[in-house]
């Protein structure tokens, strides 16, 4: 046995505690072998330029969603809104690994991934505000957004659907033989859907260039993990598809970047899909309407949001290891905030859609 990467024991898996067990190691599953891979926070740090971009983007994700949240309370968002608070680090750090010409297949808590892939905050704001110049022209809203100029698909509400869609996107990349890879996210709840299963299996059989990230944020709306699945960790599904899997702390953005870029390299090189379970906490209600204190263990919630906030953790790591100064970090936050608010102000000036076009575009010409 490789001493650096010891096999995980049955007991460890059966008593897995996301909070402590993933602090300084991650789990790599391959066939029926699960190994613990240790890391130091320093060794996984990206280079300075990447780190700077990452920092700005996670700050932007937080700022955009906070701005949207207050815009909702001010009555600017028709319908409802879902946010990815707590997931900014994993979203940004994974999607950053994609090349411009590669496709992203995001879900409803991946605002950070949209931003990292290049979806402009201005467009996101217009979309949430139901404006004519948003990417759906006001026909849809909330997190149901895509952005074709940057190769981001739109999700529909039906959870699970996007995993099969992602296999098709990856299929196209493979068929055209340009060595492109795709990232797709799915929630812990979403793994229970038949679509997840059908798609992961198809991706595995056809060795598609696809990285599937399970955003396990410990809740599916008001349903507990223990009512959602009975395995010790979702990553244990990987061997059943013949795929490699990783179980990682998704609040550690550099770690997500480290593991994802390897998985993407493997996909681009023809090695097939990887399943990554990224543990975070949904650090807010399910939607802006959700009274989550009714069903969430608030002690657990406080602990995670205080100590495992992906942005605070990134701030600290970058400063501690001298990648950015405290001033640079503050400036990055300030810039993000301003960019989000400018985008909001601009979007609020956009026109609402004209009902004259209500029935146009049902068919493509």
């Amino acid at each position: 046995m490789d001493a650096k990467h010891p096999l995980a024991t049955r007991e460890e898996l059966a008593n897995l505690d996301f909070y402590t067990d993933l602090a300084d190691r991650y789990l790599a599953v391959d066939g029926l072998e699960a190994r613990w891979v240790s890391f130091t926070r320093k060794e996984i740090l990206p280079d300075q330029e990447t780190a700077g971009r990452m920092h700005y983007l996670v700050s932007l994700a937080r700022a955009v969603e906070e701005t949207l949240d207050s815009a909702f309370r001010a009555g600017h968002i028709p319908g409802t809104a879902f946010f990815g608070r707590g997931n900014e680090g994993a979203s940004v750090a994974s999607a950053m690994c994609l090349e411009d010409h590669e496709w992203l297949v995001p879900m409803h808590r991946n605002c950070g991934a949209h931003l990292a892939k290049g979806h402009p905050p201005r467009s996101i704001m217009s979309h949430f505000f139901g404006r004519a110049d948003g990417p759906s022209g006001g026909r849809d809203g909330n997190f149901h957004m895509g952005y074709r100029p940057k190769r981001i698909t739109q999700l529909i509400s039906h959870i699970g659907t996007m995993v099969p869609i992602a296999t098709g996107v990856a299929w196209a990349a493979k068929a055209r033989g340009k060595g492109e890879a795709t990232i797709n996210y799915i929630g812990d709840g979403g793994t229970s859907s038949g679509d997840f299963h059908e798609a992961v299996n198809f991706a595995a059989v056809r060795k598609l260039p696809l990285v599937i990230i399970i955003d396990n944020n410990q809740y599916a709306y008001k349903t507990l993990l223990s009512d959602q699945y009975a395995c010790d960790a979702l990553v244990l599904k990987a061997p059943g598809y013949g795929l490699p899997g990783f179980l990682i702390d998704g609040t550690n953005a550099p770690l997500v970047h480290h593991v994802c870029s390897q998985a993407l390299e493997r996909a681009r090189a023809g090695g097939g899909p990887t399943l990554i379970e990224s543990i975070t906490l949904r650090a807010a209600g399910h939607s802006v309407y959700d009274k989550f204190a009714d069903y969430v263990d608030m002690e657990h919630f406080e602990k995670w949001t205080n100590e495992r906030d992906p942005i605070k953790r990134l701030d600290e790591a970058l400063i501690e290891f001298g990648v950015m100064t405290a001033e640079e970090v503050a400036a990055s936050h300030a810039r993000a905030r301003k960019d989000a608010e400018d985008a909001r102000d601009e979007a609020l000036k956009s026109p609402m859609p004209d009902p004259a076009y209500l029935t146009e575009g049902v068919f493509a010409e």
Partner: protein
Amino acid sequence: MITYREALSEALWEEMERDEDVFLLGEDIGLGGGAFYITKGFMEKFGRDRVVDVPLSEAGFTGAAIGAALCGMRPVVEFQFADFVTESYKMIVDYAAGNHYRQMGPVPIVLRLPAAALVSAGPFHSQNPEIWFFGTPGLKIVAPATAFDAKGMLKGAIRDPNPVIFMEYKKFYNYPVDELPEVLRPEIPEDDYTVPFGQARTLREGDDISLITFGTTVLEALEAAEVLENDGVSVEVIDLRTLVPLDKAAIIESVKKTGKILFLHEARKRGGVGGELAAIVAEEVFEYLDAPIRRLGAPEAHVPLSPPLERAYLPSTEKVVSELRDLAAF
């Protein structure tokens, strides 16, 4: 008076007390009491084995409900939104609908579908599901528009030995009772009652035009009839209440009296159930018609989210009035 939402809760609660075989399946209905809090407090009372928080798997849990029903249980499945029933399509259309016809026993399941538009809920939380099921034999389809019907029909659905597509209207859940037209708030009996399926209800009598509707558009229908009264035109408004079984006699009686008919529903006109209803009239009482049959439903688009589009999409009182005036002038 209780709200439509409370009526649904009461029906479920009373049926669960009455019959141990009744149990509930759905996403977030236990610990969380459901997206619309219809089962709030149920898990505490009935336990997690009768109020089942299921994994996110509509086909799977609909199938589980069917399996339990085959063994004589009475599962009630809550879909978080009617839209998600498309995930379970084959379970309903292929399995449940035909099992009794295939002589393999009854399938007493109720599928509760929170349906239709609310406000800017967008293309995936606003759909009217009736057309997905309307052409399949063996499925009852009900559409309560009042709290009275919601309670009595849900009880009736649970006691029915057949699969029942139970559309409930999110718009009505918390609709303030005192803002409803009088005719839409019938007294709810203290005692146990059920509403028989297949009996339309005349919400307003009239002689000149029959306005046949169901679901959310009972509101627009009544308002429009009021407007026409000021024009001196007497409009009869009928709430079908259930689509399968269909109270054909009520439609035919009314059209024999008025000679003019408008079918109205929130769902799209093209391919909506109004087509079948119109066809029945054209086949069976053609000779009584004094004007072309009219239908009003949403236009040819997916339900859009942004307010100006959504307003333009939904059948409004103005649109109903305009159709009625056209008919009156014919």
